[in-house]
Amino acid sequence: MSPPLLETRDLLLDIPGRPTSSRWNWQIRAGQSWAILGPNGAGKTTLLMTLAGLRKPRSGSLQLDGRALEKHSSSARARYLGVLFQQHQDDFPARVLDTALMGRHPYLRSWQTESREDQELARRALQRMDLEDLQERNLQTLSGGERQRLALATLLTQDPQLLLLDEPTNHLDLHHQMAVLALVEEEVSQGKSALMTLHDINLAVRFCSHLFLLYPDGQACWGTREEMLELKALEKLYQQPLMTTQVEGQTLFFPRSVRK
């Protein structure tokens, strides 16, 4: 069996005030799509940033494709791991097409310029995100949802093995939420892997093969979707009574209203 794409060894996230009890040995393999579920402040974003190598863990280590993460050069790492951030920094103007093209940065030597193929990759990514008509625009003039899709287009241009997505459906309308998750699903079916933080259990169930439940006290459990869909576990996770219903063969979860 090939080594897992990304593996944590006794990983402990560095979250202030968090007890040092639970350490995780977790493996992410090619072809898997993971949803990280948890309440506000549980550390979902911290987990994502730590997996991306952008934050140091308090202890433990990460293995990327069988080698310690820090043994990979920073550009090699960026060819394995791509991140969609929750916030986008837009203090400086930039053309939409140029922004998508930045996804090619880890593939180019410093004196190289983007080739025709690179341009073509960026254009195709913009097309998949319905942004082809905006490619000459300044990104500061985009709406929140368009800006989010541009960040996704940059990630598609980067073409990493593992997509780390922090709330990919943020700012998106219903149609684009489904379109984006379907697109991630398509990438995964072609041998990539994905890992995303989501707030919507039903979207997680629909689009992800595996679930990672992150509790506010630093405990976590993970496994395949089928193993993890326990009503009791989910209710404990969100501290919220839930009810379920079946629609077209899929189990849907809804919050129960709490009467005082």
């Binding site: 920073s74 400086f92 140029d98 922004t99 940065h105």
Partner: protein, 325 residues
């Protein structure tokens, strides 16, 4: 370097040449082009030779290099702090240089002594900001900026103190230095060398700087070694500014204005922005210095006054007409 950028740079190069020639021709005594040509081919009267080769050429060349240094440093600082309002002096560098230069004047040192003091002052201020801003935490752009602004205020108070306690006969020299003045600038070799080396060093880094402008996290996720890169930009921008300050005192506005002008006219790609800023800054300072020498000839104005007087209305007009900064 992208092929599409060459026409813009060639045009700017042409404008730079024109501004340099204008600077050579005009002055308290204007020379006709024919006598300039004569001097350049080794003929012409000895008066013309002295005027052109020993007085005007070093000064015009110094002005161009100084403008180029300041504009490049400004463009770098704006990227480093992710703040379009940053200029080369934003981290308190001009204040440090100013205090040191004024003290050197009080001590009665010559122009070389004043330049060396200014250079040392600039570097001390840079190191101070770097050390304090780093402190125990990370040096986020806002933290760096705040440290610089506070330190600049401190230097400003020291400068006011020195000015208010100095002899009246020393004041004009001090004020001219603080406003930026090219009257003593007769050694263009060092600023040119530094500018050319810096540009050669920066050219392969243009795409990395583009990525860095999108924020340090995004840049790190795209494979940029952010900490090393930011440290490099910081040191380089400080060095360029320190060299510029030793040539001409603290000339204001070039470092803020020129990168913005270039962005408004030519777009946002750092691979074009950096060399274009260098050329544009050079042109602006040469033209401003030419005006400083001719407007009230034989009196000379401090060049910093002219850069601001020229720059402010032009910049406001461009800003008014453009849809975004």
């Amino acid at each position: 370097m992208l092929a599409q950028h060459w026409p813009h740079l060639l045009l700017l190069l042409l404008i730079a040449l024109v501004s340099l020639i204008t600077g050579l021709l005009l002055g308290s005594v204007s020379l006709p082009p024919a006598s300039v040509l004569a001097v350049l081919t080794g003929e012409g009267t000895s008066l013309e030779q002295t005027l052109l080769l020993e007085l005007r050429l070093p000064r015009v060349a110094s002005a161009f290099a100084t403008g180029g240094l300041l504009a490049t440093a400004g463009a770098l600082m704006q990227i480093l702090l992710r703040n379009p309002l940053a200029d080369p002096y934003v981290l308190g560098l001009s204040g440090g240089a100013g205090v040191a230069a004024l003290l050197a004047m009080l001590a009665g040192l010559g122009s070389l002594g004043i330049s060396s003091a200014a250079f040392a002052g600039a570097l001390i201020s840079t190191l101070l900001v770097f050390a304090v801003a780093r402190g125990s935490g990370s040096w986020a752009p806002t933290r760096l900026l705040l440290t610089g602004v506070v330190l600049a205020a401190g230097w400003g108070a020291l400068i006011s103190f020195i000015l208010s306690t100095s002899d009246t006969h020393q004041l004009p020299g001090m004020l001219y230095w603080l406003m930026g003045d090219l009257a003593q600038a007769d050694r263009p070799l060092l600023p040119w060398l530094v500018l050319l080396l810096a540009l050669a060093f920066l050219m392969p880094l243009g795409r990395t700087l583009n990525v860095l402008a999108r924020g340090s996290l995004q840049a790190a996720a795209l494979g940029v070694s952010v900490v090393r890169m930011e440290g490099l930009i910081y040191v380089l921008a400080a060095l360029l500014t320190a060299v510029a300050v030793t040539v001409a005192g603290t000339v204001g506005f070039v470092g803020l204005l020129v990168p913005h002008l270039v962005r408004l006219l030519l777009g946002y790609d750092q691979r074009l922005l950096l060399p274009a800023s260098a050329l544009g800054g050079g042109c602006l300072l040469v033209l401003a210095d030419t005006l400083a020498r001719t407007l009230m000839a034989p009196e000379q104005l401090p060049v910093g006054v002219i850069t601001a007087l020229l720059g402010v209305p032009f910049f406001l007009l461009l800003l008014y007409r453009s849809k975004h900064l």
